[in-house]
Amino acid sequence: MTPLLEVEGLVVEMRRHRVAFHAVDGVSFALERGGALAIVGESGCGKSLTLRAIMGLLPNRGRLASGRVIVDGVTLRSDARGRGRGHGQHRRMSIVFQDALSALNPVATVGNQIAEAPRHVLGLGRSASRARALELLRLVGIPDPERRYHAYPHELSGGTRQRVMIAIALSSDPAILLCDEPTTSLDVTIQTQILALLAELRSERGLSLVFVTHDLGVVSQVAERVAVMYAGRFVETGPTGAVLAAPRHPYTSGLLAAALDVDNPDREPIAIPGSLPDPLRLTSGCSFQPRCQFATPECVTTDVRLERVGPGQEAACLHSDVLSAAEAAGRHG
């Protein structure tokens, strides 16, 4: 069976001070029907741009330099911006952004915003699309939908606005939901509610998810597969449990060591030395190498690629074996 979504060799070129660089540099993955992939990484790693490139919503400074997006076996046509995908397969995907307040139209009621796609994309009549919007408001767990239908975005709380965003995303009946840090600006008690809603949508409607986040703590709750992104590339992918329990790329293990554990307050978090490389000055070899404790001269000269390191797990590191040995020693020592 063909995967629902295939992304092949996605390269996004961005410009800064008239210099072009690859902000996303050869990202590939496949998403099964009903599956979920979390893309995790720090600010500037290219995770949101990856999502925007898939959706065809690159900013003006960005250009899809190469790569293909295939939905259900059909390659999406688009111009270099990734635009021009208003028809056909493109409708199978929707996107949810982090900041619902700026993504929503401030001068239209939320009901009308949700009813827009049913009316103009799915071609339903006025009352049918209104009924559909009410049904969606109910589906995303907004109490009293008849009253909320007429509310404006600013009248709603952050959590409710994010539910409205999800309702709008679902209104064109997509198969794939692309989520760009949808819970980052929400409080934790609201975050658990939104994550529960997404899980429900997956199990009840068979929705597939690509979930971008900087928070390793939510990854295992939303997706069974994870891709760790650094400087525009996937450096490790695999089953979420395996990657978090036994990371094989030094960046993944560094992120885990830097994270705090609410249940284990006395474990000292260890920061990753150095800082993100300047994307304008990326050199050959591994881009994490300047910050890596396992780096050898080979890492500077060899172009690393994702290689299989375990069942379904891949890492782009020449020394992934050293890491697994070190982890094992650390655990038993």
Binding site: G158, V188, A196, H214, G217, Q221, A271
Partner: protein
């Protein structure tokens, strides 16, 4: 606590909205902060934690209640010395630094205006401050835009330290930083407290951060402290249902199963605070009494310093504490 450095008594802050509604941001809060301790103030957005911080720092005048520092009441107009003693560090090091001033300019101006070191000693003191926050000397000649988020936060901390404060109030100082650099800033706070004997009020929505750094914790909800105590009591034996919900919802790396939301809905508007216990509309434990009587902070558990404001505070956690 015998020797509290900061005493906050019956503090309330009411703002007027543009429609004339009264918004109770802080509602009758009493708090003690001992010299040299780290108090973690947790709660979700809008719970009033920043407002309390600003009252302590003298940036907001409370509607009622008093703030005492070292036994003296601090009024609305504070002596320079009192203002200097309590410094704030903010979440966003991008907007809290003047983009046109070099680090040297910022620091030496402060040192000169406050006359803390003789003119000839300013340069040396700048070097000292850089060393204290772990930045190289050459950073003094940089503009804020030339630094990363973590470095900027170090600069903001150096600026706070320049006036030799006794208390630092840090308002979400690591929330805007990437995970890989958060650890370095947290360590800096630990280090400064050890070396300078600083008292720290650490405000965060992130329970893991607060648990890691604090000696004592105060949990806020809708302008009130609903639970407070030493770190271990609050985290291993939480007595307020809101504290339990926050703990359950905290992101965990190896959380395999989806967390079932313990509380439904969202916090009500602080313009229209519910009667009785303000948490009752969302509380899984609420009974009729909770809609009528507002629970006061009362002692719970075995620790002398553990308080919770809940009618059912003597019930221990319904779920067995999680084993890692």
């Amino acid at each position: 606590m015998a020797d509290a450095l900061i005493e906050v008594d019956d503090l309330s802050v009411t703002f007027r909205s543009e429609h004339g509604h009264a918004l109770r941001a802080v509602d009758d809060v009493t708090l003690r902060i001992a010299e040299g301790e780290v108090l973690g103030l947790v709660g979700e957005s809008g719970c009033g934690k920043t407002t309390i911080a600003k009252c302590i720092a003298g940036r907001i005048t409370p509607t009622s209640g008093v703030v005492r520092f070292d036994g003296r009441e601090l009024g609305a107009r504070r002596a320079t010395e009192d203002r200097r003693a309590i410094q704030m560090v903010f979440q966003d090091p991008y907007s809290s630094l003047n983009p046109r001033m070099t680090v040297r300019h910022v620091l030496s101006e402060l040192l000169r205006v406050h006359g803390l070191v003789p003119r000839a000693g300013i340069e040396a003191r700048c070097f000292e401050l850089m060393a204290l926050v772990g930045l190289p000397r050459r950073a003094l000649d940089g503009l804020p835009s030339q630094f990363s988020g973590g470095q900027r936060q170090r600069i903001a901390i150096a600026r706070a330290l320049a006036v030799e404060p006794r208390v630092i109030i840090a308002d979400e100082p690591v929330s805007a930083l990437d995970v890989s650099v958060q650890a370095t800033i947290l360590r800096l706070f630990e280090d400064l407290r050890g070396r300078l004997g600083l008292t720290v009020v650490f405000i965060s929505h992130n329970l893991a951060v607060v648990r890691h750094l604090s000696d004592r914790i105060a949990v806020m909800y809708l302008g009130r402290i609903v639970e407070q105590g030493d770190r271990e009591s609050v985290f291993s034996d939480p007595r307020h249902p809101y504290t339990r919900a926050l703990l359950a919802a905290a992101p965990r790396l190896h959380q395999v199963e989806l967390v079932r939301p313990m509380v439904q809905g969202e916090p009500p508007s602080p313009i229209d605070i519910p009667t009785g216990c303000p948490f009752h509309p969302r509380c899984p434990r609420a009974e009729e009494i909770c809609t009528r009587d507002r629970p006061r902070l009362e002692r719970v558990g075995t620790s002398a310093e553990h308080f919770a404001a809940c009618h059912f505070r003597d019930e221990t956690s319904p779920e067995a504490p999680e084993e890692p």
